[in-house]
Symmetry: C2
Subunit: 161 residues, 2 copies
C-alpha cells in the first residue's frame, strides 16, 4: 500500500521526467531511496549520452551503488515515473533492491512510441514479468503521471528509440 | 552458423574474462563488432565499480554507443563469453544489435554462483527468453569456455553477487 512518502517520491520523479524532456532527455525519471533519504536522482539519457542502457532506473542504480559504495542495494526502494522495462527490472533484481514503486503503466510509454512492450513480449512472452517475487513491484498511479509523455509528444524534434 | 571470425571473437572474450577475474572483475567479457571491426571491449565491473548494472555486455553497449555516437547499434554483433542474462539481453534489444553470439551456457554462470537463472525465472517464467526473434541469439560453445569460471572459483577472495 503506497504511503504519502511514496506519493511524494513519485511526484518528484514526474517533475524530473518533465524536466528531462525539456533538457533533451527521455520522458522518464527515477529516485533511489534508503531509510527515507534520497540516494540518487536520475533521468533517461539514452539519446543525449548515445547510451542505449541509460534508462532512468539504470542510472539511479548506478549512482546509488557509487554513493553507498556497494553493488548490493538491499533495503533501497526504487521509484520510477513509469513501469520499468525488462532491462530496468532485471537491473533492479541484480541490485537486490527491496521494493520498486512506479507511477505510469507501460501503456503510457507505448502511447509515446517506446518499444517496452515489444521487448517485454520477446522476453516474457507477455507484457509483464511472469513470476516476479510477490510485493516487489507496486503500481501507484499518482495524478499527473501522463505529463512527461505529453511533454515528449509535444516536442517535434524528439528522436524516437 | 558461427564463422571462424565469430570463434576468434569469442576466444578474445574468454581471454578478457579470465583477465577480468585476475584484476578483480567478474568472469565475463564482451566485444561489440561492426563490419569486422571491434568497436568495444568490455568486462564485468560490478564489484570494483559498485555498479549492479556493470555487466560486460552492458559496458560494451555503452562504449559502443559512445564510439559510434548513437544509441542505435544496428548492424553490430555483440559477442559474450557467457549467455546474456535478462538485463543484458534487454539492453541488446534496446540497442538494436543485429546479432548476439555467446560461448558458455548460463549453467556455467550458475556453477560459479551467479543468480542468472533465478532472475530469468522471475521474469521469463523459465530459464530462457520466451519468444525472442529468430536468429538473434546464437550459442557457439568454443573450447575453453569454462576457463573464466574456473578462474573465478579458484579465487578465495571473490565477492559473490
Amino acid at each position: 500500500m503506497p504511503s504519502s512518502f511514496d506519493i511524494e517520491c513519485l511526484e518528484q520523479c514526474i517533475t524530473l521526467a518533465v524536466d528531462s524532456v525539456a533538457s533533451g532527455g527521455g520522458p522518464f525519471a527515477a529516485l533511489l531511496v534508503r531509510d527515507g533519504q534520497v540516494i540518487a536522482r536520475a533521468w533517461n539519457r539514452v539519446v543525449p549520452d548515445c547510451d542505449p542502457t541509460a534508462h532512468a532506473e539504470v542510472q539511479a542504480l548506478r549512482q546509488g551503488g557509487a554513493v553507498l559504495d556497494t553493488p548490493h542495494l538491499d533495503g533501497c526502494t526504487l521509484y520510477a515515473s513509469c513501469e520499468p522495462c525488462p532491462m530496468c527490472l532485471a537491473a533492479a533484481l541484480w541490485g537486490r533492491v527491496s521494493r520498486i514503486v512506479y507511477a505510469a503503466p507501460h501503456d503510457e510509454a507505448i502511447r509515446a512510441g517506446f518499444a517496452d512492450t515489444h521487448i517485454a513480449r520477446q522476453l516474457y512472452g507477455q507484457s509483464g514479468p511472469v513470476a516476479l517475487q510477490e510485493g516487489l513491484l507496486e503500481p501507484c498511479p499518482v495524478p499527473g503521471l501522463s505529463a512527461p509523455f505529453d511533454a515528449w509528444l509535444a516536442r517535434s524534434d524528439r528522436i524516437p528509440y
